[in-house]
Amino acid sequence: MIDRDRNGAKRRSASEWREPKRGAGGDRRGAAAPSANIEIERYELRRQPTYRFEVERRQFMKIFAAVGGGLLVASVPDAGAQQESGGGGATQAAARDVSAWIHVDEAGRVTGYTGKTEIGQNIRTSLAQAIADELRVPLTAVSLTMADTDLVPFDQGTFGSQSTPRMAPVLARAAAAAREMLIDRAAASWGVDRAGLTCSDGRVTGGSRSAAYGDLVKARKLAGIVPAETPVGAPAAWRTRGAAAQKVDGRSFVTGRHRYTPDVTRPGMMHGRIIRSEGYTGTLASFDDAAARALPGVVVVRDGDFAGIVAPTDRLARKAAAAIRAEWRIPENLPSSSTIYDHLKKTGTSSGGGRGSAPFATGDVAAARAAAARTFDVSYRIPYIAHVPLEPRCAVAEWTDGKLTVWTGTQRPFGVRSELAAAFRLPEDRVRVIVPDTGSAYGGKHTGEYAVEAARLAKAAGRPVKLVWTRKEEFSYGYFRPAGVIDVKAGVDAGGRLTSWEFDNWNSGGSAIRTPYEVPSQRIQFHPSDSPLRQGSYRGLAATANHYAREMHMDAIARALGADAVEYRLRHLEDARMRAVLTAVAQKAGWPKPAAAGRALGIACGTEKGSYIATAAEVSRTADGFKVERLVAAFECGAIVNPDGLRNQVEGSVVQGLGGALFEHVEFGGGAIVNGTMARYRVPRFKDMPALDVLLLDRKDLPSAGAGETPIVCVAPAIGSAVRAFGAVASELPVRLA
C-alpha cells in the first residue's frame, strides 16, 4: 500500500518493509517494529501512524495505580519466554517483566489482572477457571481485571490464539504460587509443618485448624513473585478447568446491561464525526465548514488531512457533518476487484521479512517434476473479505490535566496506548486505555486510529468525545483480510504418489503455507505484493487461503487418479493428530456416502497454531447452484479447558468460515468500496445455517492450544470439493460452479 502522510512522505508498503535491527531503539513515531515472531500478514501492525498532530511536549509524570491490602502475586516470565512485541508496543520494554498478577483481598475475593481482552472468545471465563482451579476457590470467587493499561501488566495483544496456551498457564502458576504462600503463612502463624496443610474452597486447613484466605492476609500484606519451579496441576488433575462453565457475564448480555464502548458515557461528553471521502482513499481538495460552524456548540477540527466535527449532541453532530462541503482528490487508475489478481502478481516480490515468508525448499523439484507421471497445475484466487464486527470501531476520549484516557474496543490496549502517545507526543504513562469487553473483533481491531481520532477531537473540544464509526466507515477505513493469488503445481508418480509440490502465494500470507503431506520435493514461497486496499489480520490469517488452495488441489488430484479423497490424504500423512481428526470426521460424516440421494460429500483437513481440524461438507443441488446441508468438524487442540466454551468457539469459527466460503468478497473500484453496506456485503444468517456437528477430541496429555481461529480453515475446501460432484468448480473464493 502506497499512500502519503501529511508531510508528503511515502509510506512504505509491506513489500518495502525491512526487519529492523535487533536492539535498535527505533523511531518512536514509526512505532511499527514488529518482532520476527509476528506473522508477516499482520500488515496493520507495521503501518505508519494514521495521523500526526502538532501537540506540545509534556513533562513525564508517573501515575501509580495501587492495589489495596491482601495478597499480591506477580508473574515474571522466564528469560526465554518473553512476550512478543507487537508493532506500536516497541517502546514498552520497561513494563515487560511482569505478565500478570493475582490479588486476594481481605474478604477472600480473588482478582486476576491481565492485559488480554474479552472479545467474545470467553477467556474472561476460561482464565478465571485456571485461577480458581489452582487457588482452590469456587469460580464465583474469581474475577478478572482485563485490558486497562493503568491496572494490568503489559501485554502484546489478544491475537494468534495465544491467550489459552500462554496466558492461562501464567495465571495458573501465579494462582498456584499464591496458594503456596497462603499455606506458608498459615504454617508460620500456627507453628505447624506446611506439609500437613491443604487448600480447598478458599481456606487453608490442617488438623483441627482452618482459616479463610482473606483472614490470613488481614492487616498483614503479603506480596511476592512466582517462583520458577511453581508446580501446577496436570490436566488430569483439573477440576474447574475441563468442565463446562457458564460465561461469567452472560446475564449482562441478555439484559442489555453490559456497556460496550459505544455505550460508555462521560460527564459533559460530546459527539464526534470524521469527515471522509466517499471511498477508501483521497486527499482533501476543498473544505467549506461555514454552515457547520454556524450550528450551536459545534467545533470543526482541521489538522492536515484530518477533518472532523464535534457537537454537543449526536443529533447536532449528524447535522454538522452533513453541513460540511468537502471535495476529495481521488487518484486515477487504481486497481479494482477485477484487476486485483493481475496487480498482485505484477507487484509481487520474492520475499519480505517476518515469519512464514522465507522460501522453503527440499528435494529436487525440477527433477521430480520432469520425472512425474502426471502433473496438476492450478492458480487459485482469494478476494479481500471484511471482518464486519457487529460493534463498530468506537472510542470515547477524555483529557484530564494533560492525561488522556480512552475507552475503546481493541485487541491491543497497549499498542493503542503507544499509538496515542506517539500521536500526541505524550509519555505513555500519561495515556490510559481501557477496553470494555468488546462486541467482537476477529482480528480486525488491532489498530488505534479511531482512538486517535476521538482523542484529537476531544483535545480540540476540551470535553470528552465519543466517536462511533458508521458501518460505511467500517467497510472503507478498517482493514481487510488480504486478497491473494496462489499457484499450485504438483507432480505424482505412476502409482499416484505425490513427488513434487510447488506452492506460490502472492500477498495473502504465509500462515499454514507449508504442506502437512509427505512430498519428497517441495518449493513453497510467499510473495508480498502491493495491496491497493488496507489489509491486515483476520481470524486464521492466510491459513484459510492456503488451506483452500492446498486441499482443493489434493481433492482434484485424488479425483483425477480415481482415489478416495480420505485414503489419498492418509497415504501422504504421517502426523498422527492430523490422521486422527481426518478419520474422526470421515466416520461421523458417513464418508464416502452422503445421507440422501442427490447430495455429495467433500472433506478437508489441516493444522495451524498447534491445533488440528478436519471438516466434511454435505451439499445438495439447487436451481441456481448448491446448498450446504450439513457441516461436520472434528477439532483437537490438546487438553480442553472449557468444553462448552470450546464448542461455541468451534461452531462460531465454522459459521464465520461459511461466509468466506459462500459469499463474502469485497467489491471495489475507482477508489471506493462498492458493496460496503450490511445490505450488500452478505454475512451468514439464520437461513444459511446447515446442520452442524462438532466433534471435540480431548487430549489431556497435550498442552492446550488456542481454538478461536483454526476451525475456520477447512470449511471452504470441504464445500468446494463437495460441489465438484455437480460440475467444475471455479478455482477461487467464494466457491461457485464454473
Binding site: 472479545i119 467474545g120 472468545q121 470467553n122 457458564q246 460465561k247 457475564d249 452472560g250 446475564r251 449482562s252 448480555f253 441478555v254 439484559t255 442489555g256 446491561r257 453490559h258 456497556r259 460496550y260 459505544p262 455505550d263 458515557t265 459527539h271 449532541t313 449526536d314 443529533r315 464486519v388 464486527p389 457487529l390 460493534e391 463498530p392 469487553d437 468488546t438 462486541g439 467482537s440 476477529y442 462511533v468 458508521t470 458501518r471 462448552d644 461455541n648 468457539q649 461452531e651 462460531g652 469459527s653 465454522v654 459459521v655 464465520q656 461459511l658 453496506t677 450490511m678 445490505a679 454475512v683 451468514p684 444468517r685 439464520f686 437461513k687 445455517m689 452442524l692
Partner: protein
C-alpha cells in the same frame, strides 16, 4: 425541534427531537437506554431490535415521528427489576452468545417472533429472524434458545409471556 411523547417500557417520556430522528438515536442518546445496540444503521443487522406495538422492528430505521403514540418495549423493559423474561432465561441457559453484542436484539426479535408464532418451525425461525445477524456465528444455539423459550412459554398458564425469577 418538536416535543414527542413516547410510551416506552410502560412509562411516558417526553423527547425533544425531530420527526426524522431514528428511534435508536433517541433511545441511546436522549434517554441513555443503551441496551439496544447500534450495528449498521441500515436495518440489516438487528442489533437494535425493539418491539413497537408488540412487533419487532429495527429501531435504527424507525423514525421518531412514526412511533409517537405507539407502545415501545426495549430490552430494559422486558422484565421487571432483576427478573428475566423466559426468552432471556433461555438465551442464558443455551449460552446463545459469544461477544453478546447481538444478544439484546436477538432476544427482542425472539419475543416478537413468539408473539406471532408461538411454535415456530425451523423455516419460521430462518425467515422471521433473517434480519438479525450474529457475527460470532452462534445461530444453532440461538435456535436452541428459541425452542426452549417457546416450549416454556407454551406451558405457562398465562397468554402473555410471564417473567420468571432466576
Amino acid at each position: 425541534m418538536a416535543t414527542f411523547s413516547l410510551r416506552l417500557n410502560g412509562r411516558t417520556h417526553r423527547v425533544e427531537g425531530e420527526p426524522d430522528d431514528s428511534l435508536l438515536a433517541v433511545l441511546r442518546y436522549d434517554l441513555d437506554l443503551t441496551g439496544s445496540k447500534f450495528g449498521c444503521g441500515e436495518g440489516h443487522c438487528g442489533a437494535c431490535t425493539v418491539l413497537v406495538d408488540n412487533q419487532a422492528v429495527r429501531a435504527c430505521v424507525t423514525r421518531l415521528g412514526a412511533v409517537a403514540g405507539a407502545s415501545i418495549t426495549t430490552i430494559e423493559g422486558l422484565a421487571p427489576g432483576d427478573r428475566l423474561h423466559p426468552v432471556q432465561e433461555a438465551f442464558l441457559e443455551a449460552e446463545a452468545f459469544q461477544c453478546g453484542y447481538c444478544t439484546p436484539g436477538m432476544v427482542m426479535a425472539t419475543v416478537g417472533l413468539l408473539r406471532t408464532t408461538p411454535s415456530p418451525s425451523d423455516q419460521d425461525i430462518a425467515k422471521l429472524m433473517d434480519r438479525n445477524v450474529c457475527r460470532c456465528g452462534t445461530y444453532s444455539r440461538i435456535v436452541k434458545a428459541i425452542r426452549l423459550a417457546a416450549a416454556r412459554m407454551k406451558n405457562s398458564d398465562s397468554v402473555t409471556p410471564q417473567a420468571v425469577r432466576r
